[in-house]
């Protein structure tokens, strides 16, 4: 699973939703296991997103943007 930074909030909200659902009383074991699997997948993808720092600086020069710095940590 790969999440775009733009969708971070959306998936974080889904993670919250899953936690709330797991906490609710009327949930079957099957349902809770599939929710848990989904939650773990989202957690791992978001965590990867935050740990894979990726930023760049482009500067406008002579009519176009030129890459100045590209750091992948």
């Amino acid at each position: 699973m790969k999440i775009d930074l733009k969708d971070y909030e959306k998936y974080l909200a889904r993670l919250d939703e899953i936690i709330v659902k797991l906490n609710s009383a009327d949930i079957s074991l099957d349902e809770s296991i599939s929710l848990y699997k989904e939650g773990i997948e989202i957690y791992k993808a978001l965590s990867k997103l935050l740990n894979d720092k990726e930023h760049s600086l482009k500067v406008f020069k002579d009519g176009e943007f030129v890459e100045l710095e590209n750091q992948d940590e």
């Binding site: 848990y36 760049s56 600086l57």
Partner: protein, 399 residues
Amino acid sequence: MMTAIKVSQLSRYLAKLVKRDGFLNNIAVEGEISNLSFSGGNVFFSLKDDTASIDAVIFSYNLIDQSSLLKEGSKVIVEGSINIYERTGHCQIIVRSLQLAGRGDLYAAYLDLKDKLKKEGLFDSAKKKTLPTMPRKIGLITSKNGAALHDVLNILSRRFPYLDIYFYPSRVQGSSVVAEVTEALNYLDKLDLDLIVLTRGGGSFEDLFEFNSEKLTRLVSKLETPLVAAIGHEVDTSLVELAADRRASTPSEAAELISPDHKKLLSDLDMKGNNLLNEMEKIIRANRNTLDYFKNELSYFDPSREINQEKDRLSLFGERLSLAMENNISKSNSKLENLYYKLQKYDYEEYLVSGYSIVKKDGNILNRVKDLKINDGLEIFMADGKLQAKVIDKVEYED
């Protein structure tokens, strides 16, 4: 000779006279600052022009907005009241506020334009676009030489190292600001960026005046991309900032405003991960408890004991059955044997009584002449006894 009064009486009289004078109590004086000194939270200076000079004092220096104007040689307009210090008869201006001299016209124009654009709705909060909470691509417009660029990049790389920054250098002071910033904004607005930051460091009203341009302000209000503007530290916010979607007071503040702190994001996410684990653990524990409960409940109805008892009974039956069968079979066998002998005996005797005889040779019953030779010894069994005989002749029938 006139009656003389004391110096203190004169001084008090002058002080009262000045105090009662409406003109002197609310006066604006233009001049140049000199002999500036700060002491105990108060500011002392002389206000002078080409031919005259008057002392001035600002009590509670911190209360003055335009403290940046307090520089040796600054041409300022001070507003305040004239005061005579009774002990020395010294005359001074108690300054309540000051502004840069010559600013009046510019400032009035600024206020007029601000009013006009406000009425047109350019600054309406309802029109302002929401900033994305997690931007990915941002535009940055500032001078390539200013501290603002360094501050913004520094903070962004520390707080939120996931950005592609499109830096469009532009002058942020002087007559070319409007043209350059307009070009930068128009270019960046077409790049489908998540937001644009327009910033520069602090400066005087005049330094920042280009950011009150009507043309630039109108452009800012029409941008498709959300704009954050942080232009100087002026108390009077520039019109560009008023039209922007968000305003920050410094370049650093703008950088912080647009970037969530990734350390906090990480710790928040980890907390959620832990919550997820805890909830699932709770569910598993609860289910295990339920399972244990049912297991206990079910053990009351466990049929294995009854089944084992039945098994034992059944195997007992089996043993008895096979014993009985064995008995039965051996009984039947001996009966059968008896019958057989009886039958054999019965047949044999019956035949003999009817007149048949049985011929045996060496104990074997014979029924063919061909099995005998002349002079063979025979036993002939009859109903009441047997004969020892010898073959003296034999005739074989043709088939």
